[in-house]
């Protein structure tokens, strides 16, 4: 599905909770929430994809949602804002949302990097493809 200007989409049905993939086909994250800003005529438009527990938590709602958000807060480096991918990087809206920058250079998933470095990389064989 390619996107033409003027196409109509329903944000919740067609954008939220979809998989974000990078140009190498690697999975980046889910669209946990969307950042909106008002244009000069007071109409909201999408400026970024928000991700991570601090974006997902409020959408879960209730006590569980607060927990998720609080855990995200604890894990995040101090003063680091909620992870976002600017909408200018989005190249396609289909069954997945394509972005133009490789996962490694988006710097939005610190937990994956931490698990990779401190757990998985220490297990022998983690650098090789399967045989």
């Amino acid at each position: 599905m390619t996107v033409a200007a003027g196409r109509v989409i329903d944000l919740h049905l067609h954008l939220l909770d979809r998989q974000v993939v990078d140009p190498d086909g690697r999975m980046v994250c889910k669209v946990d929430d969307l950042e909106l800003e008002l244009d000069e005529r007071g109409r909201p438009y999408v400026t970024a994809i928000l991700l991570g527990p601090r974006a997902l938590g409020p959408r879960l709602g209730g006590r569980l949602g607060r927990w998720v958000a609080a855990i995200g807060e604890r894990l995040a480096e101090r003063d680091r804002p909620v992870s976002r991918i600017d909408f200018s990087l989005v190249t396609d809206i289909g069954s997945a949302i394509a972005v133009s920058r490789p996962r490694g250079r988006l710097d939005v998933i610190p937990l994956e990097d931490w698990v990779e470095e401190h757990v998985i990389a220490r297990i022998p064989g983690s650098r090789h493809e399967s045989e």
Binding site: I9, D10, V90
Partner: protein, 119 residues
């Protein structure tokens, strides 16, 4: 503002009558050009009595099968209203009123057409 700030919000019409809750944001890709795409701009709110089952898509698509599910979901969403963003009260700037208030009466709003969403 986040999309989730709008979704699930109650909507009242000019006379304070409850219309339902926001189940989705209908957007047109004609916002400011950012990168390769125009940013999706919120054109209208989809307002229904309940949130349950709205994501299944049957409330917006008359053809989608199977029959059994379509009937069940549409029963829940008998009244899906499309509220153009232009009639949403945003004058008091800053954070949007909670619940959302409209500048028109419920009766003046068009019911959603049954045809599938373009996309």
């Amino acid at each position: 503002m986040r999309a989730s700030d709008l979704l699930g919000r109650e909507v009242l019409d000019r006379d304070g009558i409850r219309l339902g809750v926001v189940t989705d944001l209908r957007c047109v890709l004609d916002g400011p050009l950012r990168g390769g795409l125009c940013a999706p701009r919120v054109e209208a709110l989809l307002v229904s009595r309940h949130r349950t089952g709205s994501l299944l898509g049957y409330d917006r698509n008359e053809q989608q099968g199977p029959w059994l599910l379509r009937v069940l979901v549409r029963l829940l969403h008998r009244r899906l209203t499309v509220v153009p963003w232009t009639v949403v009260e945003t004058s008091q700037a800053g954070p949007l009123a909670r619940p959302l208030a409209l500048r028109v009466a419920a009766a003046d709003l068009p019911a959603a057409e049954g045809r599938r969403t373009p996309g």
